[in-house]
């Protein structure tokens, strides 16, 4: 049983509600996975392409006869191919901006000295510089485009200075440009999302080689976020921060081996604070995704440090499905801890949480090994029975829906002697008492399933149940052991 994948293209880009400063714990991110890389870049290039003057576009599309007259900053097609990921490369429309001499220098000028008109000019310059910095360079080749690289580096520096020191620089039209520039530069260093094989050999030079620019981009990003003018409400319209920061952290973890223990510890702390201090926490889901890929890379046998982490940190969290499953697939013996942990922390008052827990249990059961299942089946199905009889119909529905899962069904079938007695009387009772007709219908499905699995056992339990009912109906206080498999049915029917 493997984890389920989802078609990424079905998810819309999700925008964060707020963008906290970089120094606080990792901010909140949406649950959806990122849109594939190419769409991001195509978006960038198409926009830039459109912003070109006609002559330049013509030059790009039809070869460069007049190129000699100008010194364009040409994109590196090899890099584009690496980023595109599917063999083809993006159209060469990451444009050649105007020659550097034409772009005047940005000066960090205090806003107060210049009312209106110069401010507009300032913004325009800023914008152009941003666009200029969208061009990517090949650092693998140390001698290529030296001039262009230097111009970009200078531009980035100016941008950093400007954001750091000026006021009133960040106006709304600049947000998309800034984000775009950051995205273009950062994303290109990542492996394509289709590539499941992380190859350190292939990717390493790319990141470190372009560090001269990348470092400035990060710094710009930091200043951008820290700027007193920064408006999260505006930024949220243009940013999918989840992808940016999550992937940064992922890359950092992947590359900077010396930082790994530190990062893991920080993640630990964040999670622990989440569990024991706050109700809501931002970014946990995304951190967990990163953690998922970290756990996937754990060497066997698992270090006790990692197992401790599982027990003390992951289990109390209620959004742990992927990570937990990764753990289980590494070392099946942790399964029992996981399930017992979930049962121990089972939510008593919050319906939504309970439904979520049930979802987690199902994901876990989907990959559980039969030998592990046997160890936990009794307490587990007692809890499931309790959920079925919950007055909240969503909880009951979710619990009953387990029987629609083929693998879980096969586990139940193998152990039906133990499981059926645990849930039988609950099922019958609820079918008579529950107000919700959907639940009643689902219970029929479950009972029918059991009937087909083992009709003898089912009949025995039915008889026993009816016997119990008859006794209690007469007001008798006789306690009968109910539901034991193989128990002789009462006399007289």
């Amino acid at each position: 049983m493997g984890v389920k994948t989802k078609d990424l293209s079905s998810f819309p880009p999700f925008l964060r509600p707020s963008l906290p400063p970089l120094l606080s714990p990792i901010p909140s991110y949406p649950q959806h996975p990122t849109p594939p890389l190419e769409t991001q870049l195509v978006h960038v290039t198409r926009e830039e392409h459109l912003s070109l003057s006609l002559s330049q576009r013509h030059r790009d599309d039809h070869g460069d006869d007049q190129a000699a007259a100008v010194q364009p900053l040409l994109p590196d097609h090899r890099l584009l191919r690496a980023v595109g990921g599917e063999g083809g490369w993006l159209p060469p429309a990451v444009y050649a901006p105007r020659p550097p001499e034409e772009v005047p220098q940005l000066l960090p000028v205090p806003l107060s000295e210049f009312p209106d008109a110069p401010v507009a000019e300032l913004h325009d310059l800023f914008c152009k510089k941003l666009q200029q910095c969208c061009v990517l360079f090949d650092f693998l080749d140390c001698v290529a485009d030296l001039k262009g690289k230097e111009i970009k580096r200078a531009a980035l520096n100016e941008l950093v200075e400007s954001v750091a020191t000026s006021r009133g620089v960040l106006i709304e039209p600049l947000y998309p440009e800034a984000i775009k520039m950051i995205s273009v530069n950062i994303f290109r260093t990542l492996p394509p999302s289709e590539n499941p094989e992380f190859d350190p050999e292939e990717d390493e030079p790319t990141l470190e080689a372009s560090w001269p620019h990348l470092q400035l981009v990060y710094e710009f990003f930091l200043r951008f976020l820290e700027s007193p003018d920064f408006q999260p409400s505006m930024a949220k319209r243009y940013v999918d921060q989840k992808f940016v920061l999550q992937t940064i952290l992922h890359r950092v973890y992947g590359k900077l081996l010396g930082l790994r223990a530190y990062i893991r510890k920080q993640i630990n702390n964040i999670f622990l604070r989440f569990i024991y201090e706050t109700e809501h926490f931002n970014g946990v889901a995304e951190l967990l995704e990163i953690l998922g890929s970290i756990i996937n890379g754990f060497a066997l046998p698992l270090k006790s440090e990692h197992k401790q982490f599982l027990v003390r940190v992951l289990i109390p969290l209620h959004t742990l499905a992927y990570c937990v499953v990764q753990f289980m697939e590494k070392d099946a013996t942790v399964t029992e801890y996981i399930i017992r942990g979930l049962l121990k922390y089972w939510p008593k008052t919050c319906t939504q949480k309970e439904v979520m827990f049930l979802g987690e249990i199902e994901e876990i059961l989907d990959v559980i090994e039969p030998s592990q299942f046997i160890r936990v089946q009794e307490p587990l199905f007692k809890q499931i029975a309790a959920c079925i009889s919950s007055p909240h119909f969503q909880v009951a529905e979710r619990a009953l829906y387990f029987w629609n899962n083929e693998y879980i069904l096969s586990l139940i079938e193998e152990n039906c002697q133990v499981i059926l007695p645990l849930v039988f009387s609950t099922l019958y009772r609820v079918s008579k008492e529950h107000w919700n007709q959907t639940i009643v219908s689902l219970i029929y499905n479950v009972l029918k399933t059991f009937m087909e699995m083992n009709s003898k056992l089912f009949d025995d339990l039915t008889a026993s149940y009816k016997g119990d009912e008859a006794v209690s109906g007469e007001g008798g206080a006789v306690a009968r052991p109910g539901g034991a498999p193989g128990a002789p049915p009462p006399d007289g029917g």
Binding site: L259, S293, L447, M451, G492, G493
Partner: protein
């Protein structure tokens, strides 16, 4: 007749009476043969397999709605009789089955136990409507003769036999409970082959098989006495005992057969359906990061560059690259 003296004479008379009546409630033999002969996956004619599946479905509904074994047996009797006199298309079988069940329940059950037809239809995920059911009811009662008296079935005989046995063995033997016998009869009813048997014979065979397991000579003698009294041939009894034996072997084996889940319809509320879709977690697009072989804690120097900016990321005081893995403040909290 000396041996049967202990048995109440009224009971014996009843037994004889039922024996006389039972043939009028038997499904037509020729029809049964047609059913048995029909190929399993036929869209034009009902086969034995098809009928058996439908009967099992009826048992499920009987059980779920809390109807008695008598209702079930009556329903199946009606079904079999109808199927052996009318040529029916398989697609109508569910409707006929549910209709028979409803008619039987009306005959047998008390008013407050009866479920309305729309509930029967809803739970059984049937495609037909309440009015379809109404029309079918008319057809069935017309064909089988109405008003329909309760049929004499193997269940009738089981009850009578058991009472007789109690008298015959004078309470010395532990007899199987009526509940057990009913369950076994139900298992047999789910197979068309047993519809060929005379109810008196079937019931005795069942009892005989069960008592055989007890290995009591008294009980077996009682069987023989009843057999003589009702003039049941040895050959017939042996034949059906064998059939019952085979059926019981399978029933008692408790073999789990993988239920055919595809037949069931799982309807959930909209909210749960949304929840199910949303929470299907997906594999993140992040590639695996392999754990290093060398000691990662050795090269902590690069931490220093980050620590000044990352202070607020540290959850516990004084945390740097080389602290305890679980800060002590949290360790104590965990223990709670």
């Amino acid at each position: 007749m000396k041996d049967l003296q202990s048995v109440d004479s009224l009971l014996l008379k009843e037994l004889k009476l039922c024996c006389a009546k039972e043939s009028s409630f038997l499904p037509r033999d020729s029809g049964l043969r047609i059913l048995e002969a029909a190929p399993a996956e036929n869209h034009n004619a009902v086969s034995a397999k098809c009928r058996d599946a439908n009967v099992e479905e009826l048992w499920g509904l009987t059980s779920f709605f809390g109807y008695s074994a008598q209702t079930f047996v009556q329903a199946v009797n009606m079904l079999d009789r109808f199927l052996t006199i009318m040529k029916v298309q398989p697609k109508h079988l569910p409707c006929i089955g549910v209709c028979c069940l409803h008619m039987a329940a009306k005959m047998v059950e008390e008013e407050h136990v009866l479920s309305p037809t729309r509930e029967l239809i809803r739970i059984s995920h049937s495609k037909f409507t309440v009015s379809d059911l109404g029309r079918m009811e008319k057809i069935i009662s017309e064909k089988l003769g109405s008003p329909e008296p309760q049929a004499v079935t193997a269940l009738t005989f089981l009850h009578l036999y058991r009472s007789a046995f109690e008298a015959l063995t004078a309470g010395r033997e532990e007899l199987p409970s009526i509940g057990t016998l009913e369950a076994q009869l139900k298992a047999c009813t789910c197979r068309l082959v047993f519809s060929k048997a005379k109810p008196s014979v079937l019931a005795l065979s069942l009892l005989a098989q069960e008592l055989n397991a007890l290995q009591s000579t008294t009980a077996m003698k009682a069987v023989q006495q009843l057999q003589k009294h009702l003039k049941i041939s040895e050959g017939e009894l042996l034949h059906w005992r064998e059939q019952v034996g085979r059926c019981m072997a399978q029933y008692y084996s408790g073999e789990c057969t993988k239920p055919d889940n595809k037949k069931l319809v799982w309807i959930v509320s909209r909210r749960t359906a949304q929840n199910l879709q949303a929470n299907r977690f997906c594999v993140p697009g992040l590639p695996t990061i392999p754990e290093g072989n060398w000691d990662e804690s050795e090269s902590e120097d690069s931490c220093e560059d980050m620590s000044c900016e990352e202070d607020s990321l540290c959850g516990s005081p004084g945390s740097d690259g080389g602290g305890a893995y679980f800060p002590s403040t949290f360790r104590s909290t965990c223990r709670e």
